[in-house]
């Protein structure tokens, strides 16, 4: 093969690697920097390097406010994830498998939630709760988080359902399976990757949400609300940074554990890596 042809062939690969590498550096460079600087013995995240320390981590661990806020956020995000998955799956099934009048309208409302700014939803929620005289608390945060998060689950899961041919479901019913059995053995395994992806996004949305949590929250703080409060004083920045790094690390571990579990599951059923890829894309095909 002449050299020019070889270069021509190798070029796309080199370009692919270059592009992917560049994007990863751009996306993770800052994150890595922060992780690195959480060990810097200075109260400001910036150069110069002033020595290695783990004191920000021990301060974060001993900070009651931070720990309570993280605990609250984990609880809120967990409940929101579970409820959103249930509501979202119900709605996806209804929107993709059952014809009914006004379906486009209902689908449109689900979509509309996703384009309204969270600041507006937060303020609207605050006024709403005050009008119905409901005390602001973690519960009101959870309610508003659910309403902005489950439409995302609907989008992800219904995309998975549309790709999947309903004739299998019909066949199962024809062969005498009950509705429940059909759901359990035919539908659930098919949309499991979408559900997993939806779960990751739902948890992240709820966990990182500031605007809605601030306006519809009462006297218990979530982590982002705590962050914005204490960041008023720059001396708190490294503690926040350390806490964020720990949380990011925990999320990395969680996501990869989930991925590994899915991989084992699909392998056992004779699936491929490709099915497992749906875990991330949520099969938005």
């Amino acid at each position: 093969m002449p050299l020019s042809r070889r270069i021509q062939r190798a070029l796309p690969n080199a370009l692919s690697i270059g592009l992917t590498g560049l994007v990863m550096v751009i996306l993770f460079g800052p994150v890595m920097l922060l992780a690195l600087f959480s060990f810097n013995d200075s109260t400001v995240i910036s150069l110069p390097w002033e020595g290695f320390t783990t004191k920000w981590y021990s301060e974060a661990l001993n900070d009651d406010g931070a720990m309570t806020a993280i605990g609250n956020s984990v609880m809120v995000a967990s409940i929101v994830t579970v409820v959103s998955l249930i509501l979202g799956t119900l709605a996806s099934w209804g929107l993709t498998r059952i014809p009914f009048r006004g379906r486009p309208l209902v689908a449109g409302v689900h979509g509309a939630v996703l384009v309204v700014p969270w600041l507006i939803i937060g303020v609207a929620g605050l006024i709403f709760f005050s009008q119905i005289q409901m005390m602001l608390s973690l519960q009101t945060i959870i309610l508003m988080h659910i309403v902005v998060t489950f439409p995302l689950v609907v989008a992800v899961v219904s995309a998975g359902l549309i790709r999947f041919n309903p004739s299998l479901e019909e066949a199962a019913i024809d062969m005498g399976a009950s509705q429940l059995q059909m759901m359990r053995y035919i539908v659930l395994p098919q949309i499991a990757p979408s559900l997993a992806a939806a779960a990751i996004f739902a948890f992240a949305w709820s966990f990182n949400n500031f605007e809605i949590s601030f306006f519809t929250g009462g006297f218990e703080q979530t982590f982002p609300v705590w962050v914005y409060g204490v960041l008023r004083h720059s001396s708190n920045l490294p503690v926040v940074n350390a806490a964020s790094t720990v949380i990011a690390l925990a999320q990395v571990l969680l996501v990869f554990a989930l991925w590994y579990g899915m991989k084992l599951m699909t392998r056992r059923r004779g699936g491929t890596d490709r099915d497992a890829a749906d875990l991330v894309t949520g099969a938005v095909r």
């Binding site: 509501l87 929620g125 439409p151 095909r285």
Partner: protein, 299 residues
């Protein structure tokens, strides 16, 4: 986001009875829909009601259209809208320029790295956004890493001030913080395309650009549509990035809403502004949806 509504036949083999035809949608849809009505439509309805009012919750109030006419007639808001449009559009285009090839690489070239790379992309989205913006300042600043690096290799003698605190840095920060949501829908729509199509196109003598424009682009149009909704629309309402890295420029519509609501305590004007933005988002979605359908239909 367009929740896909396909033409799907009923699942059960037999034609469902009249009763069950009414009950089955109810069984699935009643709960989610009531949640949406109660916690989304009613609060938003109150807010929209506010946008047609003067005064506030406890004070004097009455019907008015001034909240809207004030905004629409003010050249200042038109200018801010124009700035916002420029920044959001450039950030979106930048993301598509990087995102489409990246999605392509992930979908067809990455091999066994496909999954870890995807997960990495998702994780990039998980870090506290505020803290991430400070990281960008550390990179782009006057004494930041990029300037220090360029100076140490002797490329420049004086640090480049233009890296930070202008529209450029706003666009950089915005593009990178939304890239995950641009790439993943496009990647997903590519996965549904049979790679054999490209071979076929090439066999027929099509160059890469023709293949991209005539074969790939129409097929991934729905993915691009979802990416636009998930990314382009929220770009208009972002206010953290312009505040922290925009310097004296880059004041955007998101800042206007937060200033109206938070600083002036003028809920009515804030509500009117949001309502207008919601309408614009709806209109945009409609157009983008039609375009993505036309593209598909052209196939």
């Amino acid at each position: 986001m367009g929740v896909p509504v396909a033409h799907v036949p009923t699942v059960t083999g037999e034609r469902p009875g009249r009763l069950s035809r009414m009950l089955r949608p109810l069984a699935f849809m009643s709960l989610p829909t009531s949640v949406l009505v109660l916690l989304f439509l009613v609060p938003m309805g109150i807010l929209v009601y506010f946008s047609f009012q003067y005064g506030d919750l406890t004070g004097q109030s009455g019907f008015t259209l001034t909240n809207f006419s004030d905004i629409l007639s003010d050249p200042l808001y038109r200018e801010i809208a124009w700035t916002t449009f420029q920044i959001a559009t450039i950030a979106m285009i930048a993301q598509l320029i990087v995102g489409i090839p990246l999605a392509y690489v992930l979908a067809y070239k990455a091999g066994r790295f496909e999954l870890p790379l995807l997960l990495a992309l998702v994780l990039a989205d998980e870090l506290n956004p505020m803290v991430r913006i400070y990281a960008w300042r550390m990179l782009l600043g006057r004494e930041g890493l990029i300037n220090e690096a360029l100076m140490s290799i002797g490329l420049i003698n004086v640090p480049i001030d233009a890296l930070l605190f202008n529209k450029f840095s706003v666009i950089v920060v915005l593009s990178t913080s939304y890239l995950t949501y641009t790439v993943i829908p496009i990647y997903a729509s590519m996965k549904a395309v049979d790679a054999g199509l490209f071979e076929a196109a090439r066999d027929m003598g099509a160059g890469w650009f023709t293949t991209f424009r005539r074969v790939l682009l129409p097929l991934i149009a729905p993915g691009i549509f979802i990416a636009l909704l998930l990314v382009y629309v929220p770009l208009f309402t972002d206010f953290a990035a312009p505040t922290l890295v925009g310097g004296t420029t880059g004041y955007m519509l998101g800042n206007v809403v937060s200033d109206l609501v938070l600083e002036n305590g003028n809920l009515n004007a804030g509500a009117a502004m949001s309502f207008l933005m919601l309408l614009a988002a709806g209109l945009f979605s409609l157009v983008a949806y039609q375009l993505s359908r036309v593209r598909q239909g052209a196939r």
